[in-house]
Symmetry: C2
Subunit: 725 residues, 2 copies
């Protein structure tokens, strides 16, 4: 394989051999982007057929060797054609298999025997169509494994590499534009959405360097592609469109995103199938299980990606990240300069809605500027130069303010519509931005002049947009993509007694811990629990009351066979400790009366926890991401209003604190309306400990601690449910 | 004044004299759009000066007479110029005043003497700059009143009318494109944002017929312009950009929006200054008080406008409304047809997020189509024809499904990128849509072919977009703009005893009703109240207990001087009715001890209301909109999570039911998690009654009923606070 090195804007850069640039894990992906020799199996001789157009792209633009495989021809479009890949005289690196689904296994088998290292499988008709297709997909995966061939697809359009002209997309240029060369690398689960983006990026003048469509992702998936892109010198921004995380591949995805972030790449992710209707559509499309969007978006954000909510945002944000992703903003304070009031207001609304701050212009600067500018200029932030502004006014204001330490980034609104404005303002903006080296976006418009200004700014690496909201959220994304991340926590060895407890229950054939066991599990993880005690006799009940030493107790029946304890009268509140024995009898008697066949373990006595702020911490296994932790305020309303936060488990202390802050209801903990601030540190500690349970003990499927009381000092877990398997 | 009639796409339509088409209220606006003679006061002879460019537009494009006013010239650009407007030999309808702020009063005075009926005042430097400017603005308003001249501005760029070429925007065409003629009329508070929109609409190929910028709106405001547009035959969609409602003008705005809706116009509104930073920016820009965005958007929606959240949405939605606003969808069920999986998924997500439904394709149609289409096609909804789809497949599916009664609207995703697709698909889509006459939007892309398809569809009145989210939310807007509206309630005469109660308190110099008075006020409005009784002696306390006949009472000190009753020990819960006398003494003694100087009226006894779902209903006066009502769930969390709804007061029963449904927490009332459904009808009734209080009694400023308990049958108001002035 040749030593290709990414080049950008026709600048060729010599680098070390490709192999050394690649991390070991992602090395096998390289063949899809840098093959020396490609064979197109099923190349058609008929113009218009997709495999003919594909061959045309390969024959005319790819800087490597190309062979066709089709027994009907000796040559197509000047490319030699052979009856089988096995007949090709040269070694082949990459096979592009463009035959019908039923004929793929044979083609792949032969490609394997030929020694290819990668195969792109184009045909649909696999797992996305149902059971039969799923079996066919499994069959090709097993052939690929046998020969050590990596697969991209099936149900995909393959690969585009601006560096070496490799382009298996079978759309002719008059139907799909190719964007200019640029710093973006794309991975898309959907082929049709990728071709839409290629066109849209082109018409927006935004460049890309590589793109790949992975379709049903029978083998290669987003995680590997992102990891590969992370190693590519000339990638600055990575666009990821996905409809679902393959089972068990969520952690690899998170690691790849973190790896890319560590290597200075910025990521923007768009998910299809956010809603239930959307998920239904996704499933029939690329067989993706859409999963829960709240989980997906929370965890991708935690890993450091910007999550776009719409296709429009997706491309706009990618543009900003690829132009300016190498500038690391120090904070969230924006300076807005405008000559257009309305657009200034609208941009400010959008910045503000996304949590950015617009500090007032420093007083000394206001004083200085007010002497130099007409009185009609508003010198707050936004600085509104009004429709009478000239290029010189922009120069003056940007010179005085852009470099000030009070501002971390710049949003310049500069429609060139007024007669007083010229295209020179573009130079002024670009010179300033690259002098002060702060992230910046620009909104500009103004007929043909506006387009000139926009294109000139883009060409100097300043992302410009025609509408204020788009400039504003793209600036936000520059901050979001650079926000400091919490370190990931690692699972430790679980406490031996916790494992024993779970194993004992499993041995007894149970799929749930009993109340006292669940509380004991929390105690093994050092989560503070409201004092409790299991009584198996009336005497033990009295002893329990004494041990707990609280003046109000709760008594609950403990039985593996009774689910709804209140329904059988199995719960007593406000029990006087002096009457624990009677409470024991009452609870047992009622349970026996209502459920005569239930096995009864005893009665759990617990101290009534003092009233605090009630929160919920749960931990469960997501099909894609594995153990996750969910935090929210207690009570039925929060569930309806969906005010909760989600993190990977185990959760670091830093991330637990972030999760608490992410909920709107966290204000209740911070001392709302004159109430005292609650012990947020202890709560964060409890979240990290609970998150470890599912992360460290494989057989624990779900932990729900509901409620945990949060006090001014300390927390107390009151009730817990633990599902095991 | 000439009898102009709007023409569209160069089709001239004869109609009745303009005067008859106009409602009386809005007739005076006509002069701004259809003057026979215009005088430009302050026209400059210097190319590049804004008043020179303005004159060029008027001289070259306006189909009426134009005069310049400038003592330095006899003629500018071939237009005769006079020292004063008073020297012009003809009568003048409209004066465009383009002199500096300080010189405006004199120019307006002369225009008034000349007998003009309207004046556009361009200069800034009025209320948006502070106190001095505000006085200047008041001065010109009083001159205008004296002469019966209507004013547009100050701080504005005036008027654009595609019908007669009137164009006071002073930007030359190479700096601001003029959109094609179309069915949209625009009113914008911001001039710079209007010029941005003019350009953006042009580059999107969306036509407009009229536009006006009203700046500081010293006289003419949005309400009058909307009302005027409502009377215009060739207006189908109205775009409104505003930053704030002028004090007291909210009702006029609502009436104008309703009037436009009644006349079959569709409205889309964008507000600047939604956030606190944005509001700060708006204030320095057009002196707008931004107000509360939740109030603004709720009330505009209630009146029947679509509220856009971003500038991008604003223009996209206006396009759809102007193309298809005359088709009234019957419901919210969408059929999606696509050849592109990813874009289909993304469009579906956006539709779903906005509350539209995608019912499954009817079984009989699936059976029929499955025989005619390849097995790879997914026939659910979206119908995914896959990347191999041809024009004929679209034809087949649209023929069978588009007219089905199961679907109310269509979203067609038809990128023409695949080789199997041609531009003929545009004909197929357009023919189908105009045959079935259902609202439809299209997403298409595909290099130059894609642009051809988009432009062709647009020219046939089918709104097409290059990205799926934009096509999806524009389709949503077509439903939203046609949703059935609740009738507006009208205030009645307030109950005489309610008025007496409030007047008595006012006479005593109080700005708040006492507890028992507030409850009595509710009773006068027939809101069910938990039984209560005021005791002024221990004997009366016993009598009260007997009268209330509840076995648990609350006792509260009643004093105009004690605000925080609990702090002085002035509240007792769980009072035994047999011990009412003792409770009376305790409350009085504690109050005296803590607040020896407080005037004490007595002790309020009230039955403890049984536990129900706690809600809050408040009514207050908004500076712009007047009396409004706010509904939400009780408790501190709902406030943090902002889950409440807002309506105009008085509120109709229909609207009250809608307001309840608009909150997420309303699920608690509908029987959540096995609890019984609560009495939503009685709650709606209580909301309407409480809303009437501020709407009918001018001196009531604020009513807060917190909580109201909602039961399976009936509701009970427990506590109320009433502010008067």
């Amino acid at each position: 394989m040749r030593d290709y090195t990414d080049i950008i804007l026709s600048r060729r850069v010599e680098g070390p051999p490709r192999g050394e640039l690649l991390a070991h894990d992602y090395a096998s992906i390289n063949v899809f982007f840098y093959p020396e020799t490609v064979a197109l199996i099923g190349a058609s001789g008929k113009p218009g057929a997709f495999s003919h157009e594909m061959l045309r792209n390969l024959a005319t633009r790819f800087k490597g060797k190309v062979y066709a495989v089709n027994p009907k021809y000796k040559e197509i479009l000047g490319v030699p054609s052979y009856p089988s890949i096995l007949d090709i005289p040269d070694p082949v690196d990459l096979a592009v298999i463009a035959v019908r689904a039923q004929r793929v296994p044979q083609a792949l088998e032969e490609a394997g025997r030929k020694g290819v290292r990668g195969a792109i499988i184009v045909a649909g008709g696999f797992a996305e169509t149902g059971e039969e297709g799923k079996r066919l997909q499994e069959a090709i995966v097993s052939i690929a494994k046998r020969y050590g061939v990596r697969i991209v697809g099936p149900n995909c359009i393959g690969v585009y590499n601006a560096v070496n002209g490799l382009d298996t997309f079978f759309l002719p240029p008059e139907k799909m534009r190719r964007p200019p060369k640029g710093y973006i690398a794309v991975v898309s689960q959907s082929g049709a959405y990728l071709t839409t983006m290629m066109d849209w990026l082109s018409s927006e003048g935004v460049g890309i360097v590589k793109a790949i469509n992975i379709g049903n992702k029978a083998d290669v998936d987003e995680a590997e592609i992102i990891g590969y892109y992370a190693s590519q010198e000339y990638v600055r921004a990575i666009m990821v469109y996905m409809e679902g995380v393959s089972p068990g591949r969520g952690r690899a995805l998170v690691e790849a995103v973190r790896r890319a972030r560590d290597n200075g790449k910025k990521l923007v992710v768009l998910k299809g199938g956010k809603t239930s209707y959307g998920a239904r559509a996704a499933k029939s499309h690329t067989a993706a299980l859409a999963g829960d969007y709240a989980v997906f978006s929370s965890i991708l954000r935690e890993a450091g990606a910007v999550v776009a909510e719409t296709p429009t945002e997706f491309v706009d944000i990618a543009k900003a990240l690829s132009f300016m992703g190498h500038l690391e903003p120090r904070g969230r304070r924006v300076l807005v300069v405008t000559n257009a009031g309305g657009p200034g207001v609208l941009a400010t609304d959008e910045l503000s809605r996304r949590g950015l701050a617009l500090p007032q212009t420093p007083r000394d600067a206001v004083e200085e500027l007010s002497k130099l500018l007409p009185p009609i200029v508003a010198l707050g932030n936004p600085v509104d130069l009004t429709g009478q502004a000239s290029d010189e006014d922009y120069q003056l204001v940007l010179e005085k303010l852009a470099g000030r330490s009070e501002f971390d980034s710049l949003l310049v609104i500069a429609p060139v519509q007024p007669a007083t404005m010229t295209i020179r303002v573009a130079d002024i903006i670009a010179d300033t931005v690259w002098r002060v080296k702060k992230p910046a976006t620009v909104m500009t418009i103004g007929a043909d002049y506006g387009e000139l200004v926009k294109e000139y700014l883009d060409s100097r690496g300043i992302p410009a947009y025609p509408l204020p909201d788009r400039a504003a959220y793209s600036l936000w994304a520059l901050m979001e993509a650079s926000k400091p991340l919490c370190n990931m926590a690692k699972p430790s060895n679980p406490p031996g007694m916790a494992v024993e407890l779970v194993e004992k229950a499993l041995k007894e054939g149970r799929n749930k811990l009993l109340e006292h066991e669940a509380l004991e599990l929390l105690e093994h993880y050092e989560v503070p629990v409201a004092p409790y005690c299991l009584a198996k006799t009336p005497d033990e009940a009295s002893a329990c009351a004494e041990k707990i030493a609280s003046n109000r107790l709760v008594a609950k029946i403990v039985s593996p066979d009774i689910i709804h304890k209140s329904d059988v009268g199995g719960v007593l509140l406000g029990v006087d400790p002096a009457k624990a024995r009677e409470a024991y009898d009452t609870v047992i008697r009622r349970a026996r009366a209502h459920a005569p066949d239930a096995r009864i373990v005893g009665v759990l006595f617990q101290a009534e926890a003092p009233k605090g702020v009630e929160v919920i911490v749960g931990s469960r296994r997501d099909e894609g991401f594995g153990p996750i932790v969910v935090y929210g305020m207690g009570g039925i309303l929060v569930e309806l209003l969906r005010d909760f936060s989600i993190g990977l488990a185990p959760t670091s202390r830093c991330r637990a604190l972030e999760m608490i802050r992410e909920t709107k209801s966290s204000k209740l903990l911070e001392g709302y309306r004159g109430s005292e601030r609650k012990d947020i540190d202890s709560l964060a500690e409890a979240i990290t400990r609970i998150s470890r349970i599912t992360a460290e003990i494989d057989s624990v499927k779900e932990v729900d601690v509901n409620p945990i009381m949060v006090y001014e000092k300390g927390v107390l877990a009151v009730d817990a449910r633990v599902i095991i398997a």
